[in-house]
Amino acid sequence: MLNLVNYLYIISAGLFVLSLKWLNSPVSARRGVFAGEIGMLVAVTGAFIQAYPVYNLEWIVSAIVIGTAVGIPIAYIMPMTAVPQRTALSHACGALAAALVGTAELYQRQPKAAEELSGFVMVALMLETLLGFLTFTGSLMAMGKLQEVLPQRPITYKNQNLVNFFLFAIAVVLAVRLILVPTDTYLFPFFALLSLLFGVLLIIPIGGADMPTVIAILNSYAGLSACAMGFVLGNKLLVVAGALDGSSGLILSIIMCKAMNRSFTNVLFGAFGQIQTSTAKQEQRNVRSASPEEAASILESAGSVIIVPGYGLAVAQAQHKIRELYDNLMRRGVNVKFAIHPVAGRMPGHMNVLLAEADIPYDRLVEMDEINGEFPQCDVALVIGANDVTNPKARTDKGSPIYGMPILDVDKAHTVMVIKRSMNPGFAGIDNDLYYMDKTLMLFGDAKGFVTEIVKELPARAAA
């Protein structure tokens, strides 16, 4: 029987690897999802056989039924703009599960503590619960920020890093004590509380614009806690799947950090967005603004247009209107492309999903490194809801907090148009020189409303 279980787990692990491999291109991606589903089914079958004879079946089955009943509507009802929140929520769920299983293991094994809770099992168990609990509350905080229930600005106080470090140190001391004396279970609730608290404190000082990195890091933690569970249970499948998730989160967070020219520690402890608000010099500079009508006539006569989407597009839910603009211009023979900055939006790849939802073909969505060479030949760059990723200060102003961050070279286009609600500086609180250039036209208004106006102007002109 155990042999069969082992084979099932091996098949499942293989399917998970294939699943991720097939995700490398949109052509095979659906096959990848399918492989993942089969892998999970095989794994669950394996779990039932391994646990055979399964007791408390009514508990297990009702939990599965409830989980399925909750999961299906989430998957179908949720709008694509809410994907970052859902992702944060699911990190929280996964981490909570790992933490609770770890907790249950600790108490369940107490009668046989001497054999079953010794050495590395206890180390793994502490890691599992620590990562599980802190990722649980941390992800809930991230979700609150993404849903705008919590303020997106970093929440900071004096000696924050010191306080956090101190709490973490106490948690580690408790963990070490529990590892050495696993029967001291009265310490565990304190350890769990500290981990939960630490998760909150770790995320509140991080601002909304850093969410792509934070989500990726939490993704990694959730995977690693599943991996630690594998060590506790002696289950290689859990180790493999957890490691895959952990490395995925790691790679994504490295990509996000590079795209902002910042380090892990800077994202986690830097409280971005605080520095600038005080030092920003409020000198009045002139900007040129334009009406939808003028914008439409410029776009119409252009040969090539590059659209730069950002978080503002997601907030305004403007992706379908942009699709209409795209269709209209393409029909007129205008070459339209989209420039996607790696950290545009609130999670890795956020913009691609929104634009794909609006049926924009993915070969029109171009990564930063590829499109940057095209800006000097481009007639119009249309910036919709993006700010810091277009700020030329990142190249020139050494004093700027975003100095060195790779940006989209929007300022090199012949004409720049920026749809923006007001002149308020963006999330990082940094003034954007792009807006004051002679070739820049500011289009003041809500992204969706303004694009709608432009689209309305376009057919009217063709008929005339």
């Binding site: 690897v17 991720l20 991606a29 989430i74 299983v101 490691a243 999903v353």
Partner: protein
């Protein structure tokens, strides 16, 4: 079913390297689906949750914790795979004229 620390670390190391190599090749277009897919995969902790809840000696506390854990991860599995599929379905190369 147990393994010693050495075997565990060995498996962990190899899986991490495979993960790093495979995921580095994932197109940035698909980073959001990648995250929701890995999320669904990491819900593999359902295996652990089922085993501990289905144990003959499971106490009431274990049953309750296990129940919550299974509910949470099954939600992740179901919504994770379905939403990933919903997302990757949207990526089309050329416009298909309807």
């Amino acid at each position: 079913m147990t393994f010693d620390l050495g075997t565990g670390l060995f498996v962990f190391m190899l899986a991490t390297f495979i993960g790093l190599e495979v995921i580095r090749k994932v197109s940035p277009l698909l980073h959001t689906p990648l995250m929701s897919l890995t999320n669904a995969i990491s819900a593999i902790s359902v295996v652990g949750a089922i085993i501990i809840t289905g144990n003959k000696d499971a106490t009431m506390a274990t049953k309750i914790l296990g129940f919550i854990a299974i509910t949470a991860v099954v939600t992740n599995i179901v919504s994770g795979f379905l939403i990933t599929d919903r997302m990757v379905k949207m990526f089309k190369k050329r416009e298909t004229k309807k």
